[in-house]
């Protein structure tokens, strides 16, 4: 009740100031955004997308960063709710997408928009995530094609058990199965999707199988680390590396095109942020939103990376 009066007052105050008046009438003045880890460019891009678009609409955004820890995230969501947010954009941290933040927000009766992952048993009003299977298929199909449809291949996975990890492998496996000449000789899982892990894992794989021709890293960080390991091993002419996500650094590396890492799938991260804000507004106004919204990732090679560097989708 107290909150209701407060937000009504705030709305009235907003209505009197011409500049921010646009927020009034949207049904939302304050959005809480819970991000697993801002060190990862993928999440940072979503945050930029949400902030940029919400800023234009005159909506305030409060961002919290869980540093990959589920418990921290639950605490942060409690704090967001204390601040009286009108909508909650939730990107779960860790492999166990915790259901508790969704339940807490539900108890307050505010819209819950899931991005990237969705907790089992506690769905939000909608979930927005990048398409994984088809895009991963395209990346693997592309590098296998460049290798002439044959050769030894390895996969460096992301954090085991996460949705993108499972689905990207599913897509890539389809491409591998279509080419009987391609032999999957090793796979290894990383904890953080990070370049140093990619480097180390690839180095060990190259040690065990010096005749590897194809590497698929499930994230650009992993792929770029692996490409560096290939260069260090002096195998840059023999190995082709494919990545995923279309991170800023990865796209710039593709523009330069001077490493074994030559293809990725660029996710529409900023568009996801915009979509999340729009969905929150729609739910707040009782409009219907699809249960799943799945923007495609775009296959990106050395030739067409430049346009995405100029403006990330």
């Amino acid at each position: 009740m107290k909150l209701g009066i407060k937000s009504a007052l705030a709305a009235a105050a907003l209505a009197t100031t011409a500049g921010a008046a646009s927020a009034e009438g949207l049904g939302i003045e304050k959005i809480g955004l819970a991000v697993p880890n801002l060190q990862a460019d993928f999440f940072n891009q979503i945050k930029l997308g949400v902030e940029g678009y919400a800023g234009k609409l005159g909506i305030e955004v409060i961002v919290v960063d869980a540093k990959n820890d589920t418990a921290t995230q639950v605490s942060q969501v409690q704090d967001l709710l204390t601040q009286g947010i009108d909508a909650f954009i939730y990107i779960p941290a860790g492999a166990a997408a915790a259901a508790v933040p969704t339940r807490l927000a539900r108890a307050e009766g505010i819209p819950v928009i899931n991005v990237d992952r969705e907790p089992e048993g506690a769905p939000g009003d909608t979930v927005i995530y990048g398409e994984n299977v088809v895009s991963a298929y395209q990346v693997c199909d592309h590098i296998i094609g460049l290798a002439g449809g044959e050769g030894k291949m390895v996969v460096i996975h992301g954090q085991k058990g996460t949705t993108p990890e499972v689905q990207r492998f599913e897509g890539c496996k389809m491409a591998i199965d279509e080419n009987p000449g391609v032999e999957l000789v090793a796979q290894q899982w990383s904890q953080q999707w990070s370049p140093d892990e990619g480097f180390q894992i690839a180095q060990n794989m190259l040690q065990a199988n010096p005749d590897i021709k194809l590497i698929f890293g499930q994230a650009d960080g992993l792929a770029m680390g692996a490409a560096k390991a290939v260069e260090v091993a002096g195998l840059a002419d023999q190995v082709i590396v494919g990545g995923y996500d279309g991170d800023g650094a990865a796209l710039e590396s593709l523009v330069a095109c001077d490493t074994p890492f030559i293809v990725t799938a660029t996710q529409s991260t900023q568009a996801m942020g915009v979509l999340a804000v729009n969905s929150a507004i729609a739910v707040a106004n009782d409009a219907s939103v699809p249960a799943r919204q799945i923007p495609n990732a775009v296959l990106t090679t050395c030739d067409d990376a430049a346009q995405f560097v100029a403006k990330h989708p």
Binding site: L80, T82, G94, K160
Partner: protein, 326 residues
């Protein structure tokens, strides 16, 4: 909050001397609360204090165990991993193997205690420095936690388990917070009034003198590491209730938070001085700071800098005090 203030006053009356080490941190905490009350209107509310109590449960219980270890001049880097191990054992026994929750909790605590006992034995019998022994245990326990499910999470606990962390009995007390307060009270009384509690200070001051004074230093050391691990395991169970799920990557770097809380609370890293009341205040400072910075919408990057500065400030203040005393 109110219960903490209550215990504060009680110790103040009965044992004024022991609080002297924690007055600095206490003033810091009060200043912090006063500042946040003025800086943001959502901080000073009953609901927010309950949130803070929820948020510090895991850190609070781990920090109690860490206080014991640091008091005897040791260090335990394995608490975060043992927390994860306890969670995974709990999840495995209850969800995968289908045992009742009571059995699963005992199993999880047992696994934690064994890990702590191994650390203690390595330190006392094999003369491995505590830093190395617990560093090894950190790696071993994390590996075991991962092996239980091959790295994936477990969900599907009974409903009442999660409700224990959500339902507020008498309007304010969740079961998890009640467990934390119980641990605080028992640990404070133990350190103050039990002979075994006073022995920890003696060992931290000088283990050789403690031995000559008739204290069984080896056994006490093993027990301390075992209790510290047991409390980490207990914290893991409460965390599992709070998250309604368990995953082996939980609790990474929690040992550093626990050490930071103990140090901010005025317990000396070289052992022998300090206490639980200081640690509780240290835990509250970290909890209030994180909560307040979130409420102030401080950018996550700046938050990390501020928390680092507070740790430096607390330790520097302690050093200055010692220098002046000398």
């Amino acid at each position: 909050m109110t219960t903490l203030n209550g215990s504060e006053r009680k110790t103040n009356l009965s044992d004024f001397f022991s609080l002297s080490g924690a007055t600095g941190p206490l003033i810091g905490l009060l200043v912090l609360c006063a500042f946040l009350s003025f800086a943001t209107d959502s901080f000073f509310s009953f609901r927010n204090f309950l949130n803070i109590a929820d948020q510090i449960t895991v850190l609070g219980i781990m920090a109690v165990g860490m206080t014991f270890v640091i008091l005897i001049g040791g260090i335990d880097l394995s608490v975060g991993s043992i927390l994860a191990l306890s969670m995974m054992v709990l999840g495995y026994l209850n969800v995968e193997a289908g045992y009742p929750m009571g059995v699963a909790i005992i199993g999880a605590l047992l696994a934690s205690a064994v890990a702590g006992a191994v650390s203690g034995l390595l330190i006392t019998e094999f003369r491995v420095p505590a830093f190395i022994a617990t560093l090894a245990m950190m790696s071993i326990a994390r590996g075991l936690a991962n092996m239980i499910t091959n790295g994936s999470q477990i969900i599907g606990f009974p409903t009442w388990f999660n409700l224990g962390a959500i339902i507020r009995h008498f309007g304010f007390l969740t079961i998890t917070v009640a467990v934390m307060i119980t641990v605080f009270v028992v640990a404070t009384l133990f350190l103050r009034f039990r002979q075994e509690g006073r022995a920890l200070y003696a060992i931290g001051g000088n283990p050789e003198v403690a031995r000559l004074a008739g204290i069984n230093v080896r056994l006490t050391t093993i027990m301390v590491y075992m209790v510290c691990a047991l409390l980490s395991g207990l914290a893991g169970i409460l965390l599992a209730a709070r998250l309604d799920s368990v995953q082996p990557s939980s609790g990474v770097a929690y040992e550093l938070d626990a050490i930071a809380a103990v140090v901010i609370g005025g317990t000396s890293l070289s052992g022998g001085t300090g206490g639980i009341v200081g640690t509780i205040i240290g835990v509250l400072i970290i909890g209030v700071l994180r909560n307040g910075l979130n409420l102030l919408s401080v950018s996550p990057f700046l938050q990390a800098v501020i928390i680092g500065l507070v740790i430096v400030l607390a330790v520097a203040a302690e050093t200055f005090k010692h220098r002046n005393a000398r």
